[in-house]
Amino acid sequence: MPVSIRRQFPIFTRRIHGNPLTYLDSAATTQKPAAVLSAVDDFYQRHCANPRRGLHQLGVEATAMVEDVRQEVAAFIGGRPEEIVFTSGTTAGINLVAYGWAPLALRAGDTVLVSLLEHHSNFVPWQQLGALHRWRVQFIPVGAGGQLDARWFSAHLHRRVKLVCVTHTSNALGTQPPLPAMVRAAHRVGARVLVDAAQAVAHQRIDVQRLDCDFLAFSGHKMYGPMGVGVLWGRTELLRQSRPFHYGGEMIREVRRQGTTFADPPAKFEAGTQNAGGIVGLGAAIAWIKQFGFSRIARHERQLTAYALRRLSVLPGVVRYGPSGVIGRGPVISFNVRGVHAHDVAQILDSLGVAVRAGHHCAMPLMELLQVPSTVRVSFGAYNTKEDVDRLIRGLKEVQRIFSGK
């Protein structure tokens, strides 16, 4: 990637405790290019109206802008526009499947398989609704190198397994489970597959036809778009089967005192005023990504990840978790500095302008399995450079210097 892309991100003019910003927390949220910020601004400055409601000029424009983005999102992930449901984010999309589809499709005693790599947002809904509806919720174990246990998975697939919930890329370790193979195996026993693509969409091309999954959820804010907007993609027939998750305005066909008939998907799931500015920003984020293309973005991030892994591996006292190389992993690295708590590492790095995440990464069951309370996580975006990695390594040496008392 050209270094000049950093200039497209206003945030990089910030100084943090007197240092330039070294942002290594894109897995939490990516920074936003000026193109996205100005698209959101333009919506509110020039086109602000409530989509799908007004017959006036601004209403027509706002509606068209939102529906254009629906088309762009569909093309972006290989789906059809009517399969694109705008949500507030990944969490909302997963909950829509959990509340809207699963209670109709699953009966008491049916099984849901949930991977132990999941973010809490693809874990807690299944645990909680599973208890409520008496589904059998089983967890796919994680083995060495943060890989899902494929043998366990195939041994636990049977006719009563109705749903498999799995992440495309683990936010805690970067692991990428072998999705097409898992989907094929799940479909053979008639199970549906929900993919959490929150950590994937900014880094590689996602094609729902190729993945052949049944539901896929992601957030705009992890792909250079604004916060508070996301997408749930679902197969048409499954969206038709689902009940709405929220009831309200603009999702109905007819409301009588005796009952209500609902609009077709996706409107059925989009009750209430949508985050139109956010949706427009999401469209701008897709356009921004497209100008580079995923082969360039992915190559750049893979090179950075490989470089960081190499530099970290020669730093004594650094313990890494997750896959050892760049194959089957996203641009995420989790590690600890021996003898130093992850929060202390993050705080010292912050004082040098290096932003990393420290903690359990909303994946407590996974951390329990790794037997560490917390890790330091470094994650990359298109705007990162080798210099960022060098600053990280210098920061980690400073951490070790402070804690060794020399």
């Binding site: 992850a342 929060h343 202390d344 705080q347 010292i348 004082s351 309370p373």
Partner: protein
Amino acid sequence: MDLYREKILDHYRNPRQYGKVAGATHRAVRSNPVCGDEVTLTARVRRGTIVDVRFSGRGCAISTAANSLLLESLVGTTVAHVRQLQPAAVLKLLGVPIGPARHHCALLGFEALREALATRT
């Protein structure tokens, strides 16, 4: 950097009042899911006086140093004194201001202590 002064690092490396009190009369476990930290606090109290109080578990430098400094200052004082103690006073023991993001680290042991002294084992 300022926060990791010698005093804090010293209490992190060699925490005072670390371990478990034999024959404890009071005990509490507190965890901080955000950090994955957990502290077990045990105390022996006789007629309102804290004869011994210790902490164990895992934590970051800030939480370990805060526990160490706090408990060190409390041996021989009274339960009534601990009840009067304000969180701000505990933070002050560290000797440097810590950002609001780390308050929960520094106060985890203090919360465990208050909980322990509020219950009887």
